[in-house]
């Protein structure tokens, strides 16, 4: 392989594009295998996600979730850490949002509740990332393994809580009571009625997510802490020599990462469901990995990747409606293929491309 540098547009444009194209090509083969026409499927998918404003509203709603979980994974990536516990951290974040909303919704309007909900979700998500982070540096056990386990512990804990004292009295469902207006974020359709988002649950949390993108960019590329995080990720040994404390960086990075994952619950719980319920995360935490990989751990890339995945979710729902043979499980297959080709096999096309772009060496 080459020691030379590929042009930037190849590294950040062409290679991700080829990886994505390969993933979609294989997805097309799966559609053919099921006995449907992949071209028609793509048409339905794009029309369903972008073709009309309500569909686009759903796309943005899903994208909001992915922005949070994608940023969470990306921040950890910069420190060379792999946080696959977004699932559990977001679940616990839901608990933080629910506590804030249940406590305040009778008394204050939503814009007073919102800061407390953000704080609650970020604190809970961060708390759930703390022990894995601490174990990683003090006990040398890999953060991947511990965060996976915390996902399962979170699932058990939340089922227990929602079965017990969080449960709405007299209800058979494992969920809290529905929040009053003071615990609900306004839908974009109510703020901008002229756009015609209809029943799409896209809400004010979208702007929280966009603010988070900007803040993460500032943090990683414009602050001392961000520099330390990137140095630690690039070369941990050198960073330690430079006086950067590995325990501090690991813990701080994982707290930020967990907090971002937890904030996903603002969109889902305060923005759309208006109550805390079982399994509301349903894979958004894991898909954050794919989003961060595709977005090359940069907020702009993550924003674009989130919209793409939002399209897949919304278009996929439309697809299962139009072509009953293609169930919503197809979305999971496409995600798996994107993670495989854009993540694990990201170097597959590189040698051939390098040969094409770099002059042959003597």
């Amino acid at each position: 392989m080459s020691g030379g540098q590929l042009p930037r547009w190849v590294d950040y444009g062409l290679i991700p594009f080829l990886n994505l194209a390969a993933a979609f090509l294989v997805s097309g083969l799966v559609v053919i295998l099921i006995g449907e026409n992949p071209i028609d499927a793509v048409k339905v998918l794009i029309w369903g996600s972008l073709g009309y404003t309500e569909g686009f509203g759903y796309t943005l709603f899903y994208a909001t979730n992915f922005i949070f979980t994608g940023l969470a994974v990306a921040v950890a990536f910069h420190a060379g850490l792999f946080n696959i516990g977004g699932e559990g951290q977001a679940y616990l974040g839901g608990l933080g949002v629910a506590i804030a909303c249940l406590a305040l919704d009778h008394y204050v309007p939503w814009y007073v509740t919102l800061p407390f909900a953000i704080l609650g979700s970020a604190l809970m998500g961060a708390a759930w990332a703390f022990i894995p982070a601490w174990l990683q540096e003090t006990r040398v056990c890999h953060v991947v393994i511990t965060t996976i386990m915390f996902n399962f512990i979170a699932a058990s804990l939340m089922v227990y809580l929602l079965n017990g004292f969080l449960k709405k009295p007299g209800s058979m469902q494992n969920e809290t009571r529905t929040f009053e207006d003071g615990g609900r974020l306004p839908f974009l359709n109510d703020i901008f009625p002229s756009f015609g988002f209809g029943f799409a649950p896209v809400n004010l949390a979208l702007f929280v997510a966009l603010a988070a993108c900007v803040l993460v960019w500032l943090l990683i590329w414009r602050t001392k802490l961000g520099f330390e995080i990137r140095s630690f990720g690039a070369n941990a040994t050198a960073a330690v020599y430079a006086g950067i404390s590995p325990v501090r960086i690991t813990v701080v990075t994982m707290l930020i990462s967990g907090g971002l994952a937890g904030m996903m619950a603002i969109n889902e719980i305060m923005g759309s469901q208006h109550r805390l319920l079982i399994d509301f995360v349903t894979g958004y935490g894991f898909v954050g990995i794919a989003v961060a990989l595709m977005g090359r751990a940069h907020p702009v890339g993550i924003l674009l990747a989130s919209i793409l995945f939002g399209m897949l979710y919304q278009g996929g729902a439309e697809l299962s409606f139009e072509m009953p043979n293609i169930t919503r499980d197809m979305i999971i297959v496409i995600q798996g293929l994107v993670i495989l080709f854009a993540g694990a096999l990201e170097h597959m096309f590189r040698p051939a491309i390098a040969q094409f772009f770099l002059p042959a060496r003597p």
Binding site: I145, T146, F286, G336, L340, A344
Partner: protein
Amino acid sequence: MFETVILTLDSTVRLSTPLLLACLAGLYSERSGIVDIGLEGKMLGAAFGAGAVAYITGNAWIGLMAGIAVSIGLALIHGFASITNRGNQIVSGVAINFLAAGLTALLGQTCCSQGGRTPSLQGDGRFRDIVLPGAEQVRDVPIIGPIYAELLSGHNILVYAAFVAVPVTWWVLFRTRFGLRLRAVGENPAAVDTAGISVTWLRYRAVIACGILCGLAGSYLSIAQSAGFIKDMTAGKGFIALAALIFAKWRPASAMFACLLFGFLDATAIRMQGQEVPGIGEIPVQFFQALPYILTLILLAGFIGNAIPPKAAGIPYLKERS
């Protein structure tokens, strides 16, 4: 009381079997330096393959072969990504889990139209329980009788295979040349390479061994324990097996005990449901579900010895720089 203990232990054995097979699968892979969090996906894929083919052919053995084939296929994808392309092994494992979860549900719906499950297996489509010789005769003998007749006898062939696989794995890893090299490649691949042995080929063999055992584990779920594939039927067993592997500190015999312990927790949880414990009250079933992970975390935190993974685990091997 004695009967309750025997019955709990009996279901412990049944519940431990898939964990044990998957755990040993992970043992081969991780000892060679390939971290595998895709055990769950491989099991699920195998469960679907076995369930579907056993239904079509009506033969459990052909179903088992299909299950193993699916699992090896997924293992080879993992190998191609992490050995040949030197990709991130965690990412590849996550991809395998996604692919298996999506494809099994999707194809299950396409082929059978029963909401992602395969039709119920009849007769020879399923592995049946084997009654060991003399089990019925000794049943009435006190103490030994129930132990032999209930606990040791009356399991299907895959259960016995799983427990036979423990000494076999120990022998392969610690008493053969292949095993020595496999362990070496997980600790210091450069040294193995210098000795003129192919790191790539060794790791591929380890990954294939992992695929075979995961295939057995998944097939057990769909054509031995149950009579057919159900969507998401692995339900996190692959991850419990991964926890057991760490709990056992990557050793075969300890892996068996860890899996038996986690299986026992599962069996106890089922038995304890809705029952009061004197002095404590009803223990929530979620506590038992979380306990394997909590125990492993306590181990990792250093309260029960230290768990040190193979040194080269997770690091792609780069043969030469140019």
